[in-house]
Symmetry: C2
């Protein structure tokens, strides 16, 4: 840390200005015990007096009144010179003396609750009033001058400050001040990022010139996708809104799979459907009403891949299904709640992670991902498309069941890594081909899966996430029993493909919407 | 915008304090023309006087001297009440009158160049000194009170201000003030985020409780992965350090593929190697010295998938290679520069995007990606592993060529979507299986590719990104001609797999490192 020395600093004067007045009493007792003189303003001053501690009001200290209904209280040179002066700088010391200013050694400030106000109201004037100006200024000044000054920005840090002062007889160590300074800048950056994102949101400015993203640490993870990578999970809100009720700690890959699974689950009809995910890719999806049958159909799509995967049920799990789930080795089971009998059954598996996701909601936020210094950001691929968006281009028109399965398969294929081919029958996927640079290969993989695991008597439909560049892909599908195909269209060979569909009496629907996912 | 009214505000008094003194003259001329009285401090005051405009010094205005070597100049109630007072609030007006304060209608401030200082020095004291306290306070106050006050935070906004004042005869519109306020909070948030990230970096605090990420808009993109998604690309630095020298605008998917390709290219030996990427997955990689042969070998791995893909050369492209590249439809060609003759050849293709990436460097930054409110972050999978990290577990030891190819294949497999199987021979991939939930399927895909496109006489090696759960995968590889396999190990069936390797006289290496990528 450059020329900074590891020296103790005695706290003689403290400035306190807190919106969150929790836990003040214990802290004040310690400050007074160590003979710290207190300055404060507004509501904090009143609270300190109410708690029967001695305190000087800021306006009295500066000789300048609190004005503009509290908008200007602490923005005074006597306060800021007291915080910012370098104790080892003679000219600074002289400036203080000449102006009759005194050193302030400790700044305890937390801000007007801007973020909380956002959660509580849409009243713009009220929100604006909760932009703290004085607080961040004092905190930033103290954090800049952490070589001499300690800064506390949250009531959660009080116990650390108390320990520090008790240990060092009313002083703080450089290490402590440095840590608090780091946390202070993390606080001011976070605070202004929330403000900035609010302004961007109400002004519909999705891509500002300078962008900041803020997030709260949920937990450090044992490691990342692989053991030699370090990792953590954050949330833009205070919690992820998923509740782990049983099992081992979630890993990076678990979280990644969980959000893949929930993305799909939340796109299915409400309280309906099962999704099985492995390596962040679905390997079985169904929207059958009967819970047990729904899971069994999703599993039937690729029972080998499902081994060690995660199951996400868009409904409450009952005992019957729980018993069935216990027959397979799974990493995670997600549901909109569990019957108590189901829980009892599933908890027999000590390591199985059980997640209640009934409070989870897919928010309409931009997605972003980074490589090195680059950050790609985009809106989610969540728009709902229905038959109104589609165009039936074949002579043969889809029957009701085909149509239902086509829409289902096309919705699922948006969550499958490109190139994606999804085969479906009776409201369940029956073959998924994913992650291939060649669309023909994805067709082949989907067909191979279907032929390996299923013995279908019902009609089979297929969805493709992007257009078929040649006839060969659709040809392969039709030869394997597919009777209806949905795909975006846009190839220069679209006409040939329509011709092929008509020759083979196949239903062909152009979705006009592409669903790449990489 | 709540109860805010769309009213014009006349600018009578402006406070100017700028670190970046560019383009002041033209702006000052307009301000004086519209009879705006100016207040300024420090170097800005001197510059305004030098430019021969009339200006009052802040210390004279407040009656309070500039102290602590400039650390405390503007932190004064006369300044901040002047900025923060609501013009339509009687009690505010009274407070101003009683204290002999005046309204400040325009704040022109840009901050101490903290970010630039970081680029120029490691001197912590100098860096700390470049944390601006007064500037952000004035800007935040003005931005909060944008109903009455205009705030300018960058010399790039001067022309907008000039236009606005000229258009409205010295006034600003609500819309203008609102826009400037939005940009001001984006500036303060960005500024403190840079500071916070600096402190976290030097204190090795990778996962702070509250995290902010900052980025600069590089460009808005036509759309995201799909046309119905909006998108943009940002950079944590001022530029992406890739230089597009020809062709159509880059799309979201182009960028995504480019960073995939560069991740691999930068992991290969310097100035050696060709990578072909399709759908963010490699479909051919080679590290052969001869440039033409290097490309031809990478292409041979999967010439069908390469169609419409992107080629990244870890070297300067010459004319001979350029002629060969023109035989294939490609979206993007990346290289460490192009010979002028090569450029001439490649530019014949009007739409082909040419990227010079010789200045691109993979920075050691955390990666992050988000879904809804969740943000997963992890360090890159970039650690270099060599034979020292590996363990040869078979009786048969690898020969020099096998060893070289094993290390090459294992490096490539970390960039292939899981489950990944990479077959290599003669320093080039000859089959890649990717994106399958079942490892056995990935083996089959890699083998099928190899058999379809290659007619190999040399030894073939295989790398797997994670362990083989059963013997079947490795069995399939050996039956197809693979003579050496590298895999992490860790399965309960490791012993069976070693036994199988010994029975078939196969080289088996345990890397002990896993390379999942999802």
């Amino acid at each position: 840390m450059g020329n900074y020395k590891n020296i103790m600093k005695k706290i003689k004067k403290a400035l306190i200005s807190v919106s969150d007045k929790k836990n003040l009493k214990g802290l004040l007792r310690i400050l007074i015990k160590h003979k710290v003189s207190l300055i404060s303003s507004g509501g904090t001053y009143k609270e300190i007096i109410r708690l029967k501690f001695k305190c000087l009001e800021v306006s009295e200290y500066t000789g300048s009144p609190e004005i503009l209904g509290g908008r200007v209280k602490t923005l005074h040179p006597k306060i800021h010179a007291g915080i910012l002066s370098k104790r080892n700088n003679r000219s600074h010391l002289k400036d203080l003396r000449n102006n009759n200013f005194e050193e302030i050694d400790l700044v305890i400030v937390n801000f007007y609750p801007f973020e909380k106000t956002l959660e509580q109201t849409n009243n713009h004037l009220k929100i604006i009033e909760n932009i703290d100006v004085g607080g961040p200024t004092m905190v930033r000044a103290a954090a800049k001058n952490y070589n001499d000054v300690a800064v506390i920005t949250s009531s959660e840090q009080y116990s650390e400050l108390i320990n520090e002062m008790e240990k060092h007889n009313g002083s703080t160590s450089f290490k402590f001040r440095e840590k608090m300074s780091l946390e202070a800048f993390s606080e001011t950056a976070y605070y202004d990022s929330v403000i900035s994102n609010y302004f961007n949101k109400i002004n519909k400015s999705a891509f500002p010139r300078k962008k900041t993203i803020y997030a709260n640490l949920i937990e450090k993870l044992r490691y990342g996708e692989n053991p030699h990578q370090k990792a953590a999970i954050y949330s833009k809100t205070q919690s992820l809104n998923i509740n782990q009720i049983h099992g081992k700690q979630l890993s990076y890959n678990n979280y990644n799979d969980i959000f893949s699974a929930l993305s799909i689950s939340k796109s299915l009809p409400k309280n309906l459907g099962t999704v099985i995910v492995k390596h962040a890719n679905p390997c079985g999806v169904s929207i059958i009403k009967d819970k047990l049958k729904s899971y069994q159909s999703a599993l039937a799509c690729d029972p080998i891949s499902a081994f060690g995967g995660i199951v996400s049920c868009n409904f409450k799990i009952n005992r019957k299904l729980a018993l069935e789930l216990n027959n397979l080795f799974l990493e995670v089971v997600i549901a909109n709640g569990f019957d108590s009998e189901a829980l009892k059954v599933l908890k027999r598996r000590k390591n199985l992670r059980l997640i209640d996701a009934k409070n989870f909601k897919m928010e309409n936020l931009l997605r972003f991902n980074s490589v090195s210094t680059s950050v790609l950001t985009q809106s989610e691929d969540r728009e709902k498309f229905t038959i109104k968006n589609f165009k039936i281009v074949s002579k043969k028109k889809p029957n009701k069941s085909q149509l239902k399965n086509l829409i289902f398969a096309f919705n699922v294929c948006r969550y499958v890594k490109s190139n994606a081919i999804v085969l479906a029958s009776q409201e369940a996927t029956v073959g998924i081909g994913s992650g291939q640079p060649s669309r023909l290969d994805s067709c082949q993989i989907a067909i191979d899966k279907m032929n390996k695991f299923q013995n279908l008597k019902d009609e089979i439909v297929a969805a493709s996430d992007a257009f078929f560049p040649f006839v060969d892909g659709i040809e392969k599908l039709v030869q394997s029993g597919v009777s209806a195909v949905i795909q975006p269209s846009g190839s220069i060979r679209d006409k040939e493909i329509i011709k092929f569909a008509n020759q083979t009496n196949t239903v062909l629907v152009f979705s006009k919407t592409r669903h790449f996912r990489h």
